[in-house]
């Protein structure tokens, strides 16, 4: 019997099988940010276990609320900063170099095919885009990851999503993943790995694959995962060129990591993306999804473009294409948060930041900020935001606020119209 990619990675990292389905696996990376790690650090200190398993395999960033907005968030940052210094964690990203963790760490080349990664964050599944097994965990698991570099997990079961066809104009990775979540439901992949394959994925950039994998958790998935291929090698080449004589050699090695044709799946779901239209969420759960055309005209107060889902260069490019020569509607506040300093800098040199500013957008520094209703664009009671983020839970971006999740193209078109739409986008494309 063949194996899935998740099973292959898992099998090559098992160090113990304490009982039944539970396996202890060795971790290649433990990622940390300032919201969930300080609790773990304080608990380890209290228990006399203030140690780290390997400072070169721990990467840390202050990203959720940066710069700090009050004493509590300043304290969280300080605990992480002091800890990183104390343990000589070289890859610690503080203000000026920091960005949204799930955009920053891949951009730094920290994620490799076949890696096992944990982080105290739901959207750790993003890193599966590189063919890694990456899972969000709770505080105790994070503590053990930091201390021992291991994690106890049940043997992975996989749902395979086969994405066929080519998305029509105006349809992006975000629309594709929203359609997948709508089909699976918010619990449809609970405790499972969600494997994305098919011609649509093969044709996607790493950015698009990260958008797909990022939202696997919104269907309950432990990990999202794509097969590493030529696109992966090209993205990683500058980081791995010292280890391989050629791209082909790297590719040959990574290709052994794809699922076998006779691997066993829990469920296989085929979707033809060529019939998709731009999508948007309407309720308080990410599986409440409708075509934008059915939501056309819905009132909005704010447009937010950013986050680990859609705050990368490619996303900003798409939004800028729609915004070029346009103005944000006077009744709407437009906010864009490039996900990392590199995204910011590249967007600046491509003239994208200028387009956003000319349109009347507020350009913020790289941070999670408004995505979790912490800073940089919190909604007031009763306000509505169309957002390129991943969670539309009640109150997510501010108590009493409503969030509609959409692609950067739809968000940008809505910013110009002053209500939910994407017709603007098509007009621009025709012109």
């Amino acid at each position: 019997m063949g194996k899935t990619i998740a099973e292959k990675i898992f099998d090559s990292h098992v160090v113990d099988n304490p009982s039944g389905d539970i396996h202890v696996i060795k971790l290649d990376m433990v990622f940390c940010h300032e919201i969930t790690t300080p609790v773990a650090i304080c608990d380890l200190m209290e228990k006399g276990k203030d140690r780290v398993f390997d400072p070169t395999r721990i990467k840390a960033v202050i990203d959720h609320v940066s710069p700090a907005k009050d004493s509590k968030t300043a304290e969280q940052g300080k605990i992480l900063r002091d800890w990183a210094r104390r343990h000589k964690i070289k890859d610690f990203f503080d203000i000026g170099r920091n960005g949204v963790c799930h955009a920053l760490f891949p951009e730094q080349g920290f994620v490799r095919p076949g890696n096992t990664i944990i982080m105290g964050d739901s959207h750790t599944c993003t890193h599966g885009a590189f063919g890694a097994f990456a899972a969000g965990v709770g505080t105790t698991d994070l503590e053990v990851g930091i201390l021992k570099g291991v994690c106890a997990l049940a043997y992975p079961k996989t749902i395979k999503i086969v994405l066929n066809g080519t998305p029509p104009p105006g349809v992006y990775a975000k629309d594709v993943i929203l359609s997948v979540i709508a089909k699976l439901g918010v619990n449809g992949a609970t405790n499972k790995v969600v494997e994305f394959t098919g011609p649509c994925v093969e044709a996607m950039s790493m950015e698009g694959r990260m958008t797909l994998c990022n939202m696997a958790i919104e269907a309950g998935g432990t990990c999202g995962i794509c097969y590493p291929d030529k696109v992966t090698v090209d993205y990683l080449w500058e980081f791995i060129k010292g280890s391989y004589s050629s791209k082909q050699e790297a590719l040959d090695e990574f290709c052994s990591l794809v699922s076998d044709p006779d691997a066993a799946y829990d469920r296989v779901l085929e979707i033809d993306v060529s019939s998709l239209s731009p999508l948007v969420t309407w309720g308080y759960k990410p599986d409440c999804v409708k075509p934008v055309s059915e939501m056309e005209g819905t009132h909005i107060d704010q447009v937010y473009i950013g986050s680990c889902t859609n705050g990368r260069l490619e996303d900003l490019r798409v939004a800028a294409q729609v915004l070029k020569g346009e103005k944000v509607h006077p009744s709407v506040r437009g906010i864009v948060a490039p996900a990392t300093p590199k995204v910011y800098r590249d967007a600046l040199s491509e003239g994208i930041i200028g387009i956003f500013m000319d349109a009347g957008f507020c350009v913020t520094n790289p941070t999670c900020g408004a995505c979790l209703g912490m800073s940089n664009g919190v909604l007031a009671n009763g306000e509505v935001c169309i957002s390129t983020t991943n969670r539309n839970f009640n109150g997510r971006m501010g108590k009493g606020g409503m969030v509609h999740l959409a692609s950067p193209a739809t968000a940008a078109a809505s910013a110009v119209a002053g209500y939910i739409t994407n017709s603007k986008l098509y007009e621009n494309r025709k012109a």
């Binding site: 380890l44 053990v144 021992k148």
Partner: protein, 162 residues
Amino acid sequence: MKQFEGNALFLDRSDINTDEIIPAKYLTEISKQALAPHLLEDLVLEGFNRDEDLKGKGVLVTRAWALEVNNINVVIAESFSRIFRQNMFNCGMLAAELPAETADRLFSTFAGKETYVKADLENSVLTFSAGDLTSEVSFSIGAFDRALLEAGGWLNYSDSRY
């Protein structure tokens, strides 16, 4: 090894969610101790008076999945979410599942009375007692979960092994 016993708090409701256990707004706190005063703060349940009812309790009995922190070391319910259940054992606390009929019987016999609950891990038996009333019920626990309890949680378990 830690003893798994204490005075019981009965919460007669199903689907207690994490926001009712600890409201999400406290996630900027950095220590578990800082969270302790907010345990069950937003739980709405008829006849439940948080400040009075929580005092001195060490065992929580509910209809379905629930909580952590304070001095509570045992939670008994019909079922738990996977993450909640694993977190309990990871922290060296016992999450015991009982069939619905057993839970119903325990609620009708003991809820509202001063009840003491003691878990015997070796024999997988929970003893409920209130005055002259005593009831013994068995529960099942996996070998790994038992080892975690014996070690005092996943942190100690892994630190001594890997």
